[in-house]
Amino acid sequence: MSKIKVVHYLNQFFAQIGGEEMADMEPELREGLIGPGIALQQALGADYEIVATVICGDNYFGSNLEEAQSRILELIKPYSPQLFVAGPAFNAGRYGVACGTIATAVEKEFGIPALTGMYVENPGVEMFKKDLYIIETANSAAGMRKAMPKIATLAKKLINGNEIDLPAEDGYHERGIRVNYFHDKRGSTRAVDMLLQKVKGEEYQTEYPMPFFDRVPPATPIIDMSKAKVAIVSSGGIVPLGNPDRIESSSATKFGKYDVTGMDRMSKDDFISIHGGYDTAYILEDPNLAIPLDVLREMEKEGQIGELANYFYSTTGTGTSVGNAEVFGTEIGKQLLADGVTAVILTST
Amino acid sequence: MNKLIVTNNSLVFEKYCNHCGVIYLKDVGYLDVLYAVRDRIHQSYVLLTHPLAGSLKPNQTPYKSIIITRGEAGVDTDSVVLIENSIAAAQKFLRDRNTPSWSEKILGDFRTVDLSLIENAMQKRSFN
């Protein structure tokens, strides 16, 4: 009986090509297995064979989502894989997004089971859990030894068409998919049980967790705009030519502060957009569409606003984890307050 | 309180056009009525009835009638949240399956039920 053909996806680091300096590497295919592929092959056993490993730099993937996907699908096609495993990506955000994206694409294109593994805080989990099985892993490669067997076990279940158990049992992140089953007690009995636990202050388990909304109370409104100091903050990925701070095109891990002293408008000779989540053509032609410097300078001259700050803050919104966004917001807020800014225009894309 | 009905149901229009304001959106779908209400909410209108009234799911009945009224200046956030949640719910159903093209008899039945859902609300009197 022939072995089940597996294709493995790795980024430049796990493929032992290089670190951050190789993150722009374009998709390549190598026959057989590389690096973590050994652990995967071992966990899968003799009935499976990793026939090829596809490698792509995290930056390249993030900045060229469409192209990266289509090139990788082309590379894989001749191998007629029956199973696809990406990563695991642990807590690496860009890698997680790449794994999630390519696994979803492969599943859709070839109709084969595809899965990956990530740490709970990896933004890829929130983004892809509904579409893919994502095995829970530790937050660093130290967790490889524990992760691979779980990936392999779940992969085999998917290949054999076995019923997938609850998240806790099979070790994957809860996908938020509601599935029916028959309990041995009827709903009303369970309600009485749950109520008595709650009334007595005992622990209880809801059968449907409410979605969590992190609410921020709004600041008090500005009475007189003509006295306000306004600053622009954007998640549109606008950065100076050359992206000196190397802000990522998706899943940003940093933000930048850029000077606009003496400028009446944003010029395309000075600024670009590196955002990987929208078609930047219009903004590359006229960055004022994302950073409305031209209009705000006019309003400043006319006295409609008190003063415009001579800088703007910028980062990339797409794929950026809620956790990171909170960190950026808090830090930017502190800096703005220290500079006497009283109002912010936040442009998103 | 001046009631304004936004509806795509001819029965509702016929019954109430002389009674209060009716925005009759002829030949549009369920979601379009929700969008029209949402747009007005952003122009300071306030919801008086629940946008998802009735057990007929959004991909079942083509008819929807909602009563709104002019609010104070600004935007009523409760109305915004309610209409947006309703739109999301409606889109979810329509994504699974589109509203079928029903026979005239069945469309008449849907119109009758939609009218009835509004009737009770129309009888309410308010004193503000």
Binding site: R178, V192, M210, P211 | T112
Partner: protein
């Protein structure tokens, strides 16, 4: 109020010359039933068929399901304010033919209520696949206005259930259960150390085919009020809801409210069941504010430490459910909600149309959007003409060979949000 409920177990149903119960078999006189139904000249046709557990029978489209019961002693008659005069019920002795039902069937509007399969894969989702059913198929007069037809159909079912219930009046029950709720202060004193628990019962109240009646009063007109739990056992609450099959609370389910039953089962043991607050689910938003404020007020006034809240319906009622949950919780009362879910075909979307932070204890009655397949049945009572227009059905649902592919929503009471069934949903 104290009620003795005498349960007469029925294991079979047959036609007979006389409507009576003999050795656990219910015999019904077909002609008398038809005559009774046709007393209402809004109906020009009626037929009676029988459907027993395990038979290859499909019933569609279903309007209501009612359990035949009869008041033996204690004042009042069944279904007060509906087919009988308004008189307080809930005390004395009532007999129920347990294991038998009356099902009304027949078209009211183009999109019909759902179906019941007596065997096969769909049977496990519906409690009435396990009861012996007297199915009343009704036909309206030509051009009968929809509201009138709904009323006529509703009353026909109640009348027939009451008529059949009479057969149990003088039978010695197989089991007698005693339910008692004392007046508030006495009830509190009866079990001073047990937590005081209440039940907030939300009644469907949106309009035509979406109504419920309490002593004949349309629930849309109610302000929240108190009900002794035993009143419901005599038919004080009747269903006029006839649109969404899966979470329809039939009159049978009102008579056999599982939350009331389960609370009584623990009453005096680990809880003190104080009573029921009734409220509604109106479409007019100001009514929701009023009803939820008053519901919370009553719960606080009655000294409830914990309440279970159940709803009927989806969408608009979810808002009432959350408002009640929030306001009652804010009074310091612990709340558990029971509801069904509609997270879309793939189970990935939001299950409820509304949410509040306080809704942290929820019992799920299942996902109604799941697609199920059920084979053709040898016999159809009623008609399958409307399957594709039923909620849960769609174009192509009814296959040429009579098999059906549809959402679970199409099966009567499959995901009913009062916890009657064992079906639930969980997160994968």
């Amino acid at each position: 109020m104290k009620l003795e409920l005498g349960k007469i177990l029925i294991q079979d149903v047959q036609f007979g010359a006389k409507t009576e119960v003999v050795d656990r078999t219910l015999f019904v006189n077909k002609e008398e039933i038809i005559e009774l139904v046709l007393e209402d000249d809004r109906l020009i046709g009626a037929d009676v068929e029988l459907a027993r557990p395990g038979e290859s029978v499909r019933i569609a489209p279903v309007k209501d399901v009612i359990e035949p019961r009869v008041k033996v002693t204690g004042g009042g008659v069944l279904f007060p304010g509906m087919i009988n005069k308004v008189e307080q019920v809930g005390s004395g002795r009532t007999h129920a033919l347990v294991g038998a039902t009356v099902i009304t069937c027949g078209r009211i509007v183009g999109f019909q209520e759902g179906l019941i399969d007596m065997s096969g894969p769909a049977a496990k989702y519906c409690p009435f696949s396990e009861t012996n059913n007297v199915v009343l198929v009704i036909e309206p007069a030509d051009n009968l206005e929809t509201h009138d037809y709904e009323t006529a159909g509703r009353l026909a079912g109640l009348k027939v259930a009451a008529y059949i219930g009479e057969a149990g009046k003088n039978i010695e029950p197989d089991e007698v259960v005693v339910y008692e709720t004392k007046p508030l202060l006495e009830q509190a004193l009866q079990y001073p150390d047990l937590p005081k628990i209440g039940y907030v019962h939300m009644l469907q109240s949106q309009g035509l085919l979406h109504d419920t009646y309490y002593y004949g009063v349309d629930a849309k007109q109610l302000v929240p009020t108190f009900m002794y739990p035993t009143e419901i056992m005599d038919g004080a609450i009747v269903s006029g809801n006839c649109v969404a099959p899966c979470d329809k609370v039939t009159t049978f389910h009102h008579l056999n409210n599982p939350i009331i039953e389960d609370l009584f089962a623990r009453h005096g043991k680990d809880l003190n069941f104080m009573g029921v607050v009734l409220t509604n689910e109106n479409v007019f938003l100001a009514d929701k504010d009023r009803s939820s404020d008053m519901t919370a007020k009553l719960c606080e006034f009655f000294g409830f430490e914990g309440v279970i809240i159940s709803e009927e319906g989806y969408g608009n009622p979810d808002t009432d459910l959350m408002m009640n949950c929030q306001k009652v919780s804010q009074k310091g009362i612990k709340v558990v909600l029971i509801t069904d879910e509609f997270p879309g075909r793939d189970g990935k979307s939001q299950s409820l149309a509304d949410t509040v932070d306080e809704a942290d204890a929820l019992v799920s009655c299942g996902n109604g959007n799941v697609i199920i397949n059920f084979p053709p049945m040898e016999k159809v009572i009623g008609t399958l003409d409307f399957v594709e227009t039923m909620i849960g059905g769609y174009e192509g649902s009814l296959k040429p060979d009579g098999s059906i592919e549809a959402e679970l929503q199409i099966v009567i009471a499959s995901t009913i949000a009062n916890g009657y069934n064992k079906l639930a949903a969980r997160g994968h």
